[in-house]
Amino acid sequence: MRKKLLVTAAVVSAGLVALTLNGCSGQSGDDAKTIELWTSWTEGEATAKALDPLIKKWADDNGYVVHQSNFTYDQIHEKLIASAAGGNLPDVVWGLPEYVGEFQKLGILADVSKAWSSWGDAAKVSDAVKSAMTVDGNVVGFPYETTVRAYLVHDDLLKKSNVAVPTTWEDVLAVGSAVQDATDSSFYGLTGSGVRSPQELLVYLAQEGVDIADPKDGGGYANTWNDNPDQLAKATEVFQFYADLMHSGAVSPNSPTYGWEDTDENFATGLTASFVTGNWLAERESSNPDTMGDVSIHPIPYPSDGKPATYLESKPVFVMANSSSLDASTQLAEQFASEKWQRAAFADRSALDDVTTDSKWTKDFAALQDTGVTFPPISLGEVTQNMQDALAMVLQDGKSAREAASWLGDAVNQSLADSGDSGN
């Protein structure tokens, strides 16, 4: 009896050790015929329904087993960074453009330049999109989903207020609280916190002709605002625009802490008359038919002495450099960007110029793609936090626009130094 117990305990212990060690490794790519795929789609929604059978068919045709796992983008980001530290990565991963710089520094991205060159649909992709997939001269992803931001307007609310659609910052500020007074809806919208606020700030900076970080001659990146009075003046104008939006009454006094959830909800329900956002608001036409029927799409207002710009969000599907099925993984990644798969799953948000729909949500947004800007390929975690902190200085702490701009320039350089992006 005792012997039996001893054997049982030994077997249980061995099993637990094996389970534990198995949990620590996890790389299914060791099997050359298996591809580990991480996606970020909503289970049961149209994208998933369209892609699921295509992935299965590709796997069958090519003799592979694709293990697909679904995560939020935040989870993918954190899991990949943690997995990279442990050398335990999947093969193909959906990502965001903000991750390009970080993942490249981690050395986990495969160079797919050669595959891009021979890709039949490459000519249908704009230079701006290709540039968003490129770091250190290497193409590191295929664009599976591409959108830009536009200025959405509730025409009825502006008509009721006798206000024309603004094209410049000056027009926006001139309206002030007129729409609020006439309709009880805020005229303009801004996102003061969360992931979207640095994207908005990047666009306004680009409209003034300044970048958050410029490449240096000897390699690396730097913010040059505090070394260049002209740049600092332009950056200051951007922060002054934010301050003026608040003071003029053009935006809600709660805007400084709005995240994207609040701003999109406020626009969809008509609490905000106009707002810069993406074409995902199209789905709100069915959930909010009473308030979304009057929406028109325009370029984002820009300073009269500046230039048009919008945020280009071209999401790359990455191939991991250590994949044991590198060629097949690259083929699978390419499939997501192919015309067939794009038409099936991303027709309203494709980087391919011949994949489109007749909807205003596709055509009017696509028309703005040429003015798209993206973040430089640097580690953005702390830089985007710096950008939010600078906005809080102006919008919440009442600091001057110049103080915020100057502080942000120094803070970004410190973050670049900490992450090793400053070069030397």
Binding site: R2, L5, L6, A9, A10, V12, S13, L16, V17, T20, C24, E78, I81, A84, A85, E102, K105, L106, S193, G194, S252, N254, P256, T257, Y258, D262, E265, N266, T269, L271, S379, G381, E382, Q385, D389, A392, Q396, D397, S415, D418, S419, G420
Partner: protein, 302 residues
Amino acid sequence: MRAGEASRTRVNARFAILAMAPAWIFLAVLIGYPLVTVLVDAFTHSHLINRTVSGFAGIANFEKVISDAHFLPAVGNTIVWTVGSVVGEFVIGLAAAVLLNRRVRGQGFFRVATFIPWLVPIVVAGMTWEWMLNPDFGIINSILTKTGLVAEPINFLGDKSWAMATVIFVNIWRSFPYYTISFLAAMQAIPAELHEAASLDGAGAWRRFWSVTMPQLRSVALIIVFIHLIWTAVNFDFIWVMTQGGPNYATITLPILIYRYSLQQYDVGAASALSTLMLVVTSLIFVVYYRVRRRLSDEIVG
């Protein structure tokens, strides 16, 4: 005979080791290894992205953490968040237990209803309250403005002067049932004779509560207060879901600062240094608990 006993002892010892092996392995792999790694990283230059950062750091990581402009506010916020939450949970949990301990109609329903907040997952509770408290379309502000209690909606989570009090309130709402269930169980174990004897001696309800009920709750109160001091101090998800430490750092606590070091700045050394500091403090809380608990046990045993 002696040889047989020795052999049996050896077999028993071997069996004990094998039986405990799974627990040891799990403790070593899932707690021991990460803990040692954190302690080592606290004294090491370690960065997830910047490969040029490496080597022994001495106390540089601790210096970086302590000189961080957000460190002292985070310490203050952690104390306010922890003490405010635990005091509120204790008072409301105890009051609810006293009420639920009375014989009233629908007692079962009220007991079940009281525990509902504790059954709601933190993320769900946090997000639901976030939407309910929204200044533009939240139901709370709608009620407050429609009833004339406030002239303008309150930006509960976006206004620095309201944010910390609001997250503490929501945390109390979710956690007080744990106190209630614990106190209620302890109250039901108090012999009815004690209350009867106190009544015969002329003690009123208030006096009976303080002289009979409360002393009997000391033991359970000690356990749940100390457990919650540690749980609340190291809690990350509740504040993260509701404010992410904002607005403008008004609700940043030490666990959120650790997250920012590790997954925004990728500075594992600084994150580990701050984690080590927190480990020391929470260990001290545990030591205090252990000593108080032993004294209380001695008193109870006599």
